[in-house]
Amino acid sequence: MKAAAVMLPLMASLAWVPVHVAAKGGSMQPKPNKDFRELIVKGERPEIAACLVAAIDYARRDPAYGAIRWDDDASDRAIMQESESGGRLTRRIHLAAQMRTKGSALFAGTWRSMNVSCEQPEDGTVRVSVKPVAG
């Protein structure tokens, strides 16, 4: 599967990289983030990189899922919108990905197609929400 081949290095990094970005609205630590650097060095779209980092972190922390991956054209297909209200900017990013459910000792989890959304107000927090693709 193409996605698996593309995401192996990233998945490997998920297991070892410390978490610095708080998803779901937590504050962000001012430490250099290895996930961010890796994504940028791999040539990821900079305007969606913070969302991708937060999505990786979300997958690590979510009790139902253990990992996230996306196809190599998913970031180019990601839709980023930015709106301004009362002088404050909010960036929203929508992206197709797959998340792996947590498995048992005998069985690995299964990959499920998900719609990932990030909401990023200008104060720097990133809120991630995920929704399984219907069907």
Binding site: P30, R37, I40, G43, R45, P46, E47, A49, A50, D76
Partner: protein, 351 residues
């Protein structure tokens, strides 16, 4: 006595300058990133090198690559027209600040249509890039150009193939003027374009439009002028069709607040009768934590020199330099956050 004292001061100052120059001779500043500001940065680098002896090398490799190289610490500074938000800047202890501004212009290669003659609304431009308008003599184009004889030709759309700040600003504009563009594609330095041919860099898009009749592309105005491409008139937010001009860029620039973290601003579709609707800002990126004190100081000296000495060269190359003294003071004050490995502050103000 005073004369002797002044003479002594002069001798010491000359000695100091010579020493600084000699010390600077071994320092090299490496920058990389957006092709948008490249002609200006290359001109500034030549002049700065002549005046200080410090060599500045700039690689025009696109905004995405510029961010990549500064993140990987293979460049002392990066240049990007994709401004990073606070959420991104904090991930890698980056400082971001604006350097120079310029117009992004749609350019066409159409028989019988000269520079500034074709009129486009934002909605029509978006429909062309969505692939909904595919011929130059389409009714939507005739409506804005009743006096032009539009050719019976297919539209050949050219866009950037590389990660591009120019694309980011251009698609930001299309998202503002077309809800369909906003919903289907959004803003992107890289996108899956619905139609068209991809070319690398402002240089590549200019060449592609120049080479093929029926083409439309978008480039920084400096590249349009250099390649003698026909620019178009765009209808701005005030409803007026305008040709690209320094006045139009300055009108858009006047609407900037520079109040967000990292001075984040995207100057598209701004208010003002004269406002040019697609204006790009090139931002510099540097690390707050620097490994080499001398390189970091030379980098900041170069960037500070641009603010104080760069206006003439920028103007000659059809850019608009930043001349808001309050903004420049704020930017230079923020450089106090830049420290070397020993924790020493690198920039202590203009010498």
């Amino acid at each position: 006595m005073v004369r002797r004292f002044l003479a002594l001061v002069s001798v010491l100052a000359l000695g100091l300058m010579a020493g600084t120059r000699a010390a600077a001779a071994g320092v090299e500043v490496i920058g990389a990133g957006a092709s948008f500001p490249a002609p200006a940065i290359e001109a500034w680098a030549r002049q700065f090198s002549r005046e200080t002896g410090v060599r500045v090398l700039y690689r025009s490799v696109g905004s995405g690559e510029g961010i990549r190289r500064v993140t990987a610490r293979s460049a002392d500074f990066g240049m990007t027209d994709v401004p990073l938000t606070q959420a991104e800047l904090v991930q890698d202890d980056l400082l971001q600040f604006p350097i120079v501004v310029g117009a992004i212009v749609p350019v066409v290669n159409l028989p019988g249509i000269g520079d500034g003659e074709l009129r486009l609304t934002g909605a029509v431009l978006a429909d062309i890039y969505l692939g909904k308008i595919i011929r130059w003599d389409a009714p939507a184009l005739k409506e804005s150009n009743p006096r032009q004889s539009l050719p019976d030709l297919p539209i050949r759309v050219v866009h950037r193939a590389d990660g591009s700040g120019t694309s980011f600003v251009f698609t930001y504009y299309l998202s503002r003027v077309s809800s369909e563009w906003q919903d289907r594609l959004g803003v992107g330095s890289r996108l899956v374009w619905p139609v068209g041919f991809g070319a690398k860099g402002n240089e590549g898009v200019s060449q592609a439009v120049h080479d093929a009749v029926g083409s439309i592309g978008y480039v920084l105005n400096a590249y349009a002028m250099q390649s003698k491409l026909a620019t178009v008139q765009l209808r701005n937010k005030a409803g007026k069709f305008s040709r690209v001009s320094e006045t139009g860029v300055r009108a858009a620039l006047a609407s900037a607040h520079w109040s967000r973290p990292g001075y984040y601003e995207v100057l598209v579709d701004r208010d003002g009768d004269d406002s040019w609707p697609i204006v790009g800002v090139s931002f510099a990126l540097i690390h707050q934590r620097q490994e080499d004190h001398a390189d970091a100081l030379a980098t900041l000296n170069f960037l500070g020199w641009i603010y104080s000495h760069g206006a003439d060269a920028a103007h000659k190359l059809h850019y608009v330099s930043l001349d808001d003294a309050g903004l420049i003071d704020r930017i230079e004050s923020s450089w106090g956050k830049v420290r070397d490995n020993e924790g020493e502050i690198v920039w202590k103000g203009r010498q």
